[in-house]
């Protein structure tokens, strides 16, 4: 089986504005893929192009092996959660779920089972008879996610699904997405939040309609050439630093703390053979810095 999504040279403009700019992207099946990028970078537009809501100006786009021009044929395999959180506020949670289940022709028994399971996952099981319009923003979001998952789609496209969801529940979401991925489903999530990206198997960084960096979070940091730093509090700052430098280490001194760039974590041991610090702290590089570096380079 080919990739879940493959895009080559995809272009989409709105008037003068080139929102997707020769974008190339490959998403294998069975992964959680995070599409990360600042607001306005074209994430929503890319998702809308994937589901066939936009006419592309150029490029080649395949979804689950089907060309995007015939994507309608596989709509029952796609779960699409819009940024709007499409729901009916004047229906109850149960009625909303029943409606979306009905669109996919899910039988009554299976439907009930799915509804119970999904409401539990989004932690709304006690509010089944409540009107959706009475839910708080985060709850509304969670119900929308449940409605999107009701037909067990093979490909999930979630546009900013965790906005307004509290961190603990977010963790539950991510675990659920991870489980879906290990069942062979593909989950594409857009976000502008860096910490969410860290949780995905693959992160694609999008800027001005282009993918500027793609890989696992660790890959990305490596690509950007970012290394962990060891911060050392030393008794004899000047002397210890001179000794370390003579061994070939790069050191910066900031506010009386020595910051030493590591090529790998194994180096920590050899550093400790040279000096014995009063205290020390390991600083891992941030994904954010990696993206900044990579997108400046691009």
């Amino acid at each position: 089986m080919g990739p879940a999504i493959s895009a080559r040279g995809v272009v989409k403009s709105f008037g003068q504005l080139r929102v997707l700019d020769e974008l190339t992207l490959n998403i294998p099946r069975g992964v959680t893929y995070c599409l990360l990028g600042p607001n306005g970078s074209g994430k929503t537009t890319l998702i809308r192009a994937i589901v066939g809501l936009l006419k592309l100006d150029a490029g080649d786009l395949k979804v689950l092996g089907t060309p995007v021009s015939r994507v309608q044929e596989i709509y029952s395999k796609i779960g699409y959660m819009t940024q709007h959180k499409a729901l009916y506020p004047d229906l109850t949670l149960q009625e909303n779920l029943e409606f979306f289940a009905g669109l996919y022709g899910i039988g009554k028994q299976e439907r009930e089972q799915r509804i119970v399971e999904l409401l539990k996952m989004v932690n709304l099981q006690d509010l089944r008879r409540r009107l959706a319009g009475a839910l708080s923003g985060g709850m509304y979001q969670r119900l929308s996610l449940a409605c999107t998952l009701i037909h067990e789609p093979e490909l999930l496209l979630l546009d900013e699904p965790t906005v307004g969801v509290d961190p603990r529940l977010r963790q539950t979401f991510w675990e659920y997405f991870e489980r879906l991925a290990s069942d062979g489903k593909t989950v594409l999530i857009t976000t502008h939040l860096m910490d969410e990206a860290e949780k995905c198997r693959i992160v694609g960084y999008m800027k001005a309609g282009k993918m500027t960096a793609v890989g696992s979070p660790d890959d990305i940091k490596r690509q950007a050439g970012l290394k962990p730093h060891l911060e050392l509090w030393l008794k004899d700052l000047e002397g210890d630093c001179a000794r370390l430098r003579s061994e070939g280490y790069e050191i910066e001194i900031l506010d009386g703390v020595a910051s030493l760039r590591l090529e790998s974590h194994e180096q920590i041991k050899s550093v400790l053979e040279i000096v014995s610090p009063l205290d020390m702290r390991l600083k891992e590089p941030m994904l954010e810095e990696a993206f900044l570096q990579l997108s400046e380079a691009a």
């Binding site: 796609i78 729901l87 004047d90 229906l91 009905g102």
Partner: protein, 352 residues
């Protein structure tokens, strides 16, 4: 490639019903708006019907009788060329009766459906003929013929039209607002990425709203026939069929026009454009013949013109489904089909 699944249409219809059912204000409007309108229009317009519209075909011989009739203040006299003209106008409900003057005899044509007015016309003709006979010293012959026309009670013409108007108005506004919401909530975009087709969406709405149209029409018909004593000479199911077809037309028109409004507020601004002309030009409050000729083509494009006519035919004359097929049902069907196509096409245009 258009695929239609009855089960998906049913799912959309069920959802529409659940939403409408929950909306107390709408339910109240469905039940009470027709009654309020009927009382308002019924009484506000009842004063206009005091006069008796009498046709006069004068083929000579009775100047005294003619001036007697012309002298009666309550009678509005319309001079006609032939007896068949008079018959036609009576059967259309535009005249209460007619008097045909011929040298040998006098014929009085009366509308069987309004006995009180018929009695008044007959009495006037007879007393005029008697006076004339007395002065001419020869017996006057007055022959009476009853025709089947409309009872010209104001409520009788207005009632069926109000039924049509209320259904049209309610369905149009609610459908337009619903489609605006589908768009602003993002649910429409979600449909676009689901097995639900555009045709199924619109048909689901038609089905869901039809249930409410039935409810509304039934209550309105009960009020009209029992409360306001408007006759129901035809089959009530035929009347319901007309109203359902009208409601379906209003729904697809509302769906189509929702594309040109950004908010529910803007939908309300369509009312003067869509609803008012129908009230004014549908030929209920003012007969079609009194509408200036250059505007009349518009009248013939409005669904309420045909629905009003069909309902009057069924309720007042007892016409059957086949008798109102042309032009009324045909016109309503064409209206529905045109805007059904337009509404579904516009749903597609959301994808640019």
């Amino acid at each position: 490639m258009i695929q239609v699944s009855l089960s998906r249409i049913g799912v959309v219809a069920l959802r529409v019903v659940r939403q409408l059912k929950r909306d107390r204000r709408t339910i109240g409007l469905i039940a009470f708006a027709p009654i309020v309108l009927m009382v308002l229009f019924g009484y506000a317009l009842s004063g206009e019907m005091s006069g008796v519209a009498l046709g006069l075909v004068d083929e000579g011989g009775h100047p005294a009788l003619r001036s007697h009739l012309e002298g009666i203040e309550d009678f509005g006299i319309l001079r006609l060329g032939s007896e068949s003209d008079a018959e036609l106008l009576i059967s259309q409900g535009r005249l209460n009766g007619a008097v045909v003057l011929q040298p040998e005899e006098v014929r009085v044509l009366l509308d069987a459906s309004s006995l009180q007015i018929s009695q008044a016309i007959l009495a006037a003709a007879q007393s005029g003929a008697q006076e004339e006979a007395a002065s001419l010293q020869k017996p006057g012959v007055v022959i009476t013929r009853y025709l089947f026309g409309y009872d010209l009670e104001m409520m009788d013409t207005v009632g069926p039209a109000i039924l049509g108007l209320v259904v049209f108005f309610f369905t149009f506004i609610n459908a337009a607002i619903s489609f605006i919401r589908e768009r602003s909530q993002g649910t429409l975009e979600k449909f676009m990425v689901s097995p639900l087709s555009r045709v199924e969406i619109v048909l689901g709405y038609v089905l869901g709203f039809s249930l409410f149209t039935l409810l509304q029409s039934t209550t309105t018909l009960l009020v009209v026939t029992f409360g306001f004593k408007v006759p129901m000479r035809g089959n009530p199911l035929t009347a319901l069929a007309v109203v359902l077809l009208l409601g379906a037309g209003a729904l697809v028109l509302g769906s189509f026009l929702s594309n040109f409004a950004r908010s529910e507020f803007q939908v309300v601004q369509f009312i003067p454009l869509i609803i008012t002309p129908q009230i004014v030009l549908c030929g209920v409050w003012w007969p079609m013949q009194s509408i200036p000729e250059f505007i009349r083509p518009i009248s013939y494009m409005l669904p309420l013109t045909y629905a009003g006519d069909a309902l009057r035919e069924v309720m007042l004359k007892g016409s059957s489904l086949t008798e109102i097929l042309f032009p009324d049902l045909l016109a309503l069907t064409v209206f529905f089909l045109v805007f059904f196509a337009a509404a579904t096409l516009m749903l597609k245009r959301q994808m640019y």
